[in-house]
């Protein structure tokens, strides 16, 4: 009985997320094809324009443009109605064939290869920042909530201010101070000229090149996480079970531990959402710092109006997001016995 309830919970979640995922992929595919302003056409025009620039012709209207356009549409399969194009694209996506990106024209690169190339960089940068800011933010928030008084007030105001700072602006400041002025850190990207290896020289260079964006994201991240955690801990401290425990004479330290553990549950969900969002990279941070991650890839693909690349990358992002949320819901069920036993429903 107990087991079947949890199984039913998992299955219902799985069904909902699959439907959502299918919808996301469908809209993602359909949008550029039905959008006013014809993004597909603009994409082809840019492609032709690039060819002309490459051959030194400059942007000029060729009389045969229309005919070329028709031919290109036929070759790329864009002349069919969008609804007919969708199934084959979707099946290919499921199979792992994500189509080709024309953003690097004249090179034609498989999108999956591109993602596999850029994703590790993004994860290497964002995952440690997310984990560190989550852990530090949780402890800081709980500390403020339990401490109260003057420290809490000052700390909270500071954190609220910090949380309002746009990450990319703080990064600009840090680059200016530590990179341009003090020359402690490189001012852009990664050690591109070095051959990746497991030597200390390469690793330390890599770390040096990730230091600034990481510190920035951790700083702003701590602001957000700790404000949330503080609120949840205060909410827990005011709840009936803690009051009861207090009247039972349990020491503050134990109460704090109870409150902390229960307050972690919503923080955990938020972590999962952020974990999923991580796969899109942080566009502005990567763009400003010239860091070759998913954000830079997305910027490049969007700049070239490469609809095939955009579709695949956005669908991949949506997949990871929904997968992360699904996992979070399942683990949530494990963490909270009330859900596991089917006593309460989670939206």
């Amino acid at each position: 009985m107990l087991k079947s309830r949890f199984a039913r919970y998992v299955v219902s979640k799985a069904v909902v997320y699959s439907v959502l995922w299918f919808l996301a992929a469908f809209l993602n595919f359909l949008l550029p094809r039905i959008m006013p302003g014809e993004p597909v056409r603009r994409f082809l025009e840019t492609l032709f324009g690039m060819g002309q620039v490459a051959t030194g012709g400059g942007p000029q209207i060729i009389p045969e443009m229309e005919r070329y356009m028709k031919e290109a549409e036929r070759l790329l399969g864009l002349d069919q109605p969008p609804l007919l194009q969708f199934p084959s694209w979707f099946i290919n996506f499921l199979r792992g064939d994500w189509g080709f990106s024309l953003a690097f024209a004249p090179d034609i690169r498989p999108v999956r290869e591109l993602v596999m190339q850029f994703l590790p960089n993004t994860l290497m940068l964002l995952l440690p920042s997310l984990i560190v800011s989550w852990i530090v933010g949780n402890y800081l928030g709980a500390y403020l909530a339990l401490k109260g008084g003057k420290i809490d007030k000052v700390g909270l105001s500071t954190l609220q201010f910090v949380a309002q700072i746009p990450v990319y602006w703080l990064l600009i400041l840090f680059i200016f101070i530590f990179g341009v002025h003090l020359k402690w850190a490189p001012i852009t990207g990664r050690p591109l000229r070095m051959i990746p290896s497991l030597t200390w020289g390469y690793v330390s260079e890599l770390l040096r090149h990730m230091a600034l964006p990481m510190i920035t994201m951790i700083t702003v991240g701590i602001g957000g996480w700790s404000i949330g955690m503080r609120a949840y801990v205060i909410y827990q401290l005011n709840s009936n079970y803690i009051r009861y425990a207090r009247t039972m004479g349990l020491p503050q330290r134990v109460l704090g531990r109870y409150a902390f553990r229960n307050a972690l549950i919503p923080q955990f969900t938020a972590f999962a959402i952020n974990f999923g969002g991580m796969f899109a990279g942080n566009l502005l941070v990567e763009m400003i710092y010239g860091y070759p991650g998913m954000g830079s890839l997305l910027a490049m693909v969007m700049g070239r109006l490469d609809i095939f690349g955009m579709q695949a990358i956005f669908t991949f992002t949506a997949t990871m997001l929904l997968l992360a949320n699904f996992t979070a819901d399942i683990i949530y069920g494990f963490l909270d016995p009330r859900i596991r036993r089917g006593l309460i429903e989670v939206a």
Partner: protein, 312 residues
Amino acid sequence: MKPSLPVLYIFSKIRSLRETLLGELFTNRRFIVGFAIFLGLVIFGYVGSFLAYSDPWDTSYYTGVPGCPNEYRFLPPSLKHPLGTDQGCRDIYTWLVVGLKNSLWVAALAASITTVIASSLGLIAGYRGGVLDDIINFSSNFLMVIPMFIILLMLLAYIPPEARSSLLVAIVIGILGWPGPTRVVRSMVMQHKASDYVDVAKLMNFTPTEIVFKEILPNIASYVFLIYISSFSGAIFAEVGIGAIGYGPWDAVTLGRTFNNMLGGGAIFIGAWWWFIPVGLVVVFLSYSLLLINLGLQHVFNPRLKLTLYAV
């Protein structure tokens, strides 16, 4: 509570409900500080762009010579150019104030759209219930999961630049903001639906429309206002973010466009602190002031929150 200004003390003594609420608002330190910063920024944007020659694109007005000679690029601050000039000999100060003014407009419009959509959907879903409620609740839950910024970027990337007017951008930002606020309104309406005054209104044969708009809406008006403020802040962030990447409005100079221009001009690498520090400070103080206003309003509107006041 001890009022901070004698004038406001007298003001708060006036007994009518609206006046006491206002009086209480203006004795709330957070609200006063936030409101002052916000008002200051609005005045800065308006008076500043009124005093500045209000065409940010014009270079000859500032340099006095047609075109853009090299010696007028990247000028440091001076009396004529309070924040220097950019790579195209344009006055950065003008970009800042005009950008601020236009961004405020974009955000105000976007926040209005969000608030209208969220409160109507929330009222319908909360009061009617049933299938409609299921649909609205389900889709808002779903959309809450996906970062709004990615959807926004995707939509705006597919729109051609010449069609990306500030009106359109404001509408897109406004429409995309609905899920969170709708959930808040919905849960508020569901609470109020079960209260006595709604039962009385039903007994008095009020139609559902009357109950929703004449009875429930005035009672949750304070929350609707809070939603407006937080949507405003979100819209500022969204506009600056997409504008900085280069997918913001193209017909007007906004804060996002100013950011984009600053990144494109390589302000960091030439060490032009007068270029990037003011823009960022304006954004930070704008959203911080809105947060303070929000906290102050919550304090006054919902005294029960006092316990966890600083918890939001």
